[in-house]
Symmetry: C2
Subunit: 221 residues, 2 copies
């Protein structure tokens, strides 16, 4: 009661709030992301998200207005996290072949390590990309990816180690497709063909093959 007399000197180390809106918000978002990723938009339950949170259901509606908005924020957060990691790659100082190979392996491994992100994107596609369309944030985040690839490819063509006439966007499509499918269809594929695709040795093989595929596709005849 008498403690708040220390107005004049708030040391940077102080963490003495009982109300901690930012952390509550972040907590809700984290829990919601997991739930939506696991069960989809219609499958996830607000009440269950509330239970798994330190906060209450009331807080979900306080910070996010409704279920769909919460979902949209989960999706945005997921994309943001991905692009942040992607930005750490710097390929400009590598030889084109090396750079491309590294990009492929990075994408493949990244997707494999972030199934929650993949699942959210799958779910968003089930919804026809309707929420993504509302988000200017996500749109703006993704321009950079193509730029990087465009650069690497151009250098490769100039140096003669890549063949001409390819569209960097389609190259990106190819890399994405293989890396994405590896996670998105793991369950059905494994079960149908009785092949433990998630096993580390098989993942390693797939990573090698996927890299190989892309490199074979771009190399001159």
């Amino acid at each position: 009661m008498t403690a708040p007399s220390t107005q004049a000197s708030p040391p940077p180390a102080r963490r003495r709030r009982k109300n901690d809106p930012e952390s509550v918000r972040a907590d809700i978002l984290a829990v919601a992301s997991r739930e939506f990723s696991e069960k989809g938009l219609s499958g996830a339950r607000i009440d269950e998200i509330a239970e798994k949170t330190r906060a209450s259901k009331r807080m979900i509606y306080y910070y996010f207005n409704d279920k769909e908005t919460l979902y949209l924020h989960s999706l945005e957060a997921a994309y943001q996290k991905v692009r942040l990691q992607e930005a750490e790659l710097d390929l400009d100082h590598l030889a084109p072949l090396e750079a491309l190979s590294r990009l492929v392996r990075f994408t493949f491994c990244h997707h494999a390590k972030n199934p929650d992100f993949i699942r959210l994107v799958m779910i968003e596609n089930i919804h026809h990309g309707r929420f993504l369309a509302q988000s200017e944030l996500i749109q703006s985040l993704n321009a950079g990816v193509i730029d990087v690839l465009t650069n690497v490819y151009r250098r490769g063509v100039e140096e003669g180690c890549f063949r001409e006439g390819l569209d960097p966007r389609e190259l990106h499509w190819l890399i994405s497709a293989l890396s994405f499918f590896n996670v998105s269809n793991q369950h059905t594929f494994s079960r149908i063909f009785d092949w433990h695709q998630a096993a580390p040795e098989n993942q390693q093989k797939l990573e090698d093959h996927v890299t190989d595929m892309v490199l074979r596709y771009v190399r001159p005849d």
Copy 2:
């Protein structure tokens, strides 16, 4: 449960039934497939399925016991339809290169023309393939696909137009991945990269590129 009623003497000419169980059942299944494909297992509503059917909600529970069973039957029906179409391809009389190229194009086009099937598979993967695991039917349907590819590949290696050392299952994985992703991620990809992927001219380009990718992957160095 409801085995096809092969009664001893159903006069072939008679057409005067008011009760028409088989068509009711088929109607329910067709509507359910569309609904599940569009909205997912949790998103689809039994009441809405019932409304869109000639039958009533009671009938859904009469022929299928509950929502999940209905979903499982939808999934099985979808796989059955696919494999039926696939069986029509006969590649054994074609030269290996031609056969492979044809198989790739067939798969690509087939997936593109059957988004409902793709969506059901996506949804099933969201559910960790838990329903597919229950279905002996689907498991048994899929053995053939690999056999066909194994044959073509073996012949190609013998004739020297394919390189050695590839696994037909991984080859199938590659073809599936590219054809599947083309449909499954169309919405997010189109929106993010502002590229009208579904446009016929772009689909044609993708089909060519995908075929090219596979052929480049298998051809000898």
